[in-house]
């Protein structure tokens, strides 16, 4: 049972990581609480679903879902956030909240209030080792997350763009004075972060076989807790925090069997950690 619960926790943690990473990248560079990120996540699921209905091929629909989310993320940054950056941070926060509400309602109006099914054939098969079992969709989540994390790591640590991204996240002004095109870097952050959220949306859509208008409402706040837990803007910290929360939830429910709402676990963990490490798990002052 322990091993099985471990696998369950890792799968959940992977999806949290994909959603939260985008959020932490946006935060790291713009210092905006980007609630609408969860709308981007749902948009990825809807775009992927629609593409899947048109072409019937899962991997292509995953790609289209990511592209749709990336585009939406870019447009939001370009037309909504960037004109508000000189203002107190509460202004973009409200824009983000309003946008998220409008997006959820758009999904409902366009695609109907009922849940859509995303019943894709992936073609990698289950993985069984004795009593322990990873289903096809769990395996899919692990593979895609792993690939995306590797690509992200390569971009950040092996390319000039990645260097510029890290420099901007540390101190955008100084980076700008060294000739970094901050505007372009911000756009790249949004594109990559949103594409990851879109991937998470598609993966969850397939994992649960469900795509529905308010699917983003829980990730909207849970991802924020994870991001804070990891140390806002800190990429390795966010990955670590995602798996910690995924595991903690699974163990709370499946092993300790304490009747405690799952969503509160992330926040309790966050508050406890902040008491001892005010900048999050891997955050630095």
């Amino acid at each position: 049972m322990l091993v099985q619960q471990l696998a369950n926790g890792i799968a959940v943690g992977s999806v949290y990581a994909l959603i939260s990473l985008g959020l932490t990248m946006v935060y790291g560079i713009l210092r905006i609480l980007h609630i609408a990120h969860a709308g981007i996540y749902a948009l990825g699921a809807y775009t992927g679903w629609f593409a899947f209905r048109l072409v019937g091929e899962f991997w292509l629909s995953l790609f289209i879902g990511m592209a749709g989310s990336a585009l939406a993320g870019y447009l939001i940054e370009r037309f909504l956030y960037s004109p508000l950056l000189h203002l107190p941070r509460i202004a973009p926060l409200i824009v983000s909240i309003g946008l998220f509400t409008a997006m959820e309602e758009t999904f409902r109006i366009v695609a109907g209030p009922h849940t859509l099914t995303y019943n894709a054939k992936i073609g990698i098969g289950d993985l069984s080792l004795g009593n322990f079992k990873l289903t096809e969709t769990q395996l899919l989540i692990l593979i895609v997350t792993f690939l995306i994390l590797i690509i992200l790591w390569v971009i950040l640590s092996r390319t000039r763009t990645g260097l510029a991204m890290r420099a901007c996240a540390m101190d955008a002004e100084t980076a700008s004075s060294f000739g970094v095109n901050v505007k372009a870097i911000v756009a790249i952050n949004f594109l990559i972060g949103s594409a990851m959220a879109g991937a998470a949306g598609v993966l969850i859509g397939v994992y649960d076989n469900q795509v529905w208008p308010t699917m983003g409402s829980i990730p909207a706040y849970k991802a924020l807790a994870i991001v804070v837990l990891g140390g806002l803007g800190n990429i390795p910290g966010t990955v670590l925090a995602s798996f910690v929360v995924g595991m903690a939830e699974t163990f709370f429910i499946g092993i300790l069997a304490i009747p405690f709402p799952r969503d509160a676990v992330a926040f309790v963990a966050m508050i406890l950690v902040l008491m001892f490490r005010p900048y999050g798990l891997l955050g630095k002052g």
Partner: protein, 392 residues
């Protein structure tokens, strides 16, 4: 002359306009309806609204009530209790409805019940389950203007247990339910009856609603206990996830659900994993009565999707009210009296023998999923089980 003619025409026009307005307002019978049409529960709200509008069309196409057309006044409550309070007052004072149908959840229905009770406007509730909708906990007496077409959670749970233990011979049972009023009521009704009939409850787990999608931790724990039946309470999204994930984990125990499973969406999302799942509900799709078959057919034709339990229950609530108006006329008190006297009413969701303290008495349907469809498996009509327990 010309000038006088103009004034005359104006006066004439105005009086025709006013007269038609008056005739119009005299000729319609106004019924209020509220449901969560936007926001997080929009799927159920839309089902309820669609089904009731279908009922409205049927009533008006067959000549209305006593020659008068029925006008349905629809409001969206967004699952928000403050909005529901405003809606209730608006329906009573501005729209002057003579009866109300609730197509909403417990929260909005529970806050509006005392308002309709006080104004003495009868309300028939489609599927909201909170026990105090029909009961005034302060005065310890029934809200005698409120009637519920759906089962009390306890009753449906007990009926499910009756079938599980007596017919399916379940001895070792695990329960998983959502943490809202419906989940709690139905699971405690189930557990109580099952234990009374001699079964053992191995685990009782509660999950967060709304929002829970990953039931693997719960199910992995259930699997350890090796039960022969799992009773799961939830709405169709969660239900489908439970059933799918149980299958994934190789759980072979019989899964039994309740009316929340009763939606074509459950079948669609769960896919082959739904096969063999048994549910306790109030809609029997194999019911040969033309009323049932026509409803299912018309719903499909009008909305291009299959009807669900929420829709069927709301449709019934509307029709029960219409029937009472037919009998008693347009005085709300007379309508309430007719509702109190309801006897052997032939409803879409079964034959209603009567209302006790506003709670419906009708058999509980047991359905099984066969080849991707809900089919009749049995009926629980043991009077001891389906009679709502007296409130105190």
């Amino acid at each position: 002359m010309g000038k006088n003619f103009g004034i005359g025409a104006f006066v004439l026009g105005l009086s025709i306009f006013l007269a038609t307005g008056m005739v119009f307002s005299q000729e319609t019978i106004k019924i209020g309806f509220f449901a969560p049409i936007t926001g997080p529960a929009a799927a159920d709200g839309t089902s309820a609204k669609n089904a009731v509008e279908l009922g409205l069309k049927e009533v008006n196409e067959t000549g209305g009530i006593r020659g008068k057309k029925v006008e349905l006044i629809i409001y969206d409550d967004r699952l928000n209790p403050q909005e529901a309070v405003a809606i209730a007052n608006k329906l009573i004072e501005k729209d002057k409805v003579i009866g109300v149908v609730s197509g909403s959840y417990s929260g909005p229905t529970r806050v509006t019940a005392p308002i309709f009770q006080k104004a003495q406007i009868p309300m028939v509730v489609g599927y909201a389950v909170h026990p105090d909708v029909t009961w005034d906990p302060k005065e310890k007496k029934p809200n005698d203007f409120i009637f519920r077409n759906g089962f009390l959670g306890e009753v449906e749970g007990a009926a499910a247990a009756e079938f599980a233990v007596k017919n399916l011979k379940a001895k070792r049972i695990s329960i998983i339910f959502m943490d809202n009023d419906f989940g709690r009521a139905i699971s405690s009704g189930f557990a109580e009856r099952a234990e009374k009939l001699g079964a053992t409850i191995l685990t009782r787990q509660m999950y967060k609603f709304p929002g829970e999608k990953d039931f693997r931790p719960y199910l992995t724990r259930i699997k350890e206990g090796n039960p022969d039946l799992i009773f799961a309470a939830g709405y169709y999204n969660e239900a489908a996830s439970i059933v799918r994930q149980a299958k994934e984990l190789g759980i072979t125990a019989q899964i039994m659900g309740e009316e929340g499973f009763d939606s074509p969406k459950f079948l669609e999302i769960a896919g082959p994993a739904a096969e063999g799942v048994i549910i306790a509900t109030n809609l029997d799709r194999d019911d040969p009565r033309p009323l049932v078959q026509n409803f299912l057919k018309n719903y499909r034709k009008t909305y291009n999707e299959d009807a669900d339990m929420v829709g069927a229950s709301s449709y019934d609530a509307f029709m029960i009210l219409v029937e009472a108006i037919r009998k008693a006329g347009t005085d709300p008190k007379a309508i309430q009296k007719a509702l109190l006297e309801t006897k052997d009413y032939n409803g879409l969701t079964g034959k209603i023998s009567r209302f006790i303290q506003g709670e419906v008495v009708k058999p509980v349907q047991i359905q099984i999923v066969k080849e991707g469809k809900f089919r009749r498996l049995g009926v629980v009509d043991n009077i001891e089980v389906i009679t709502p327990p007296p409130k105190k």
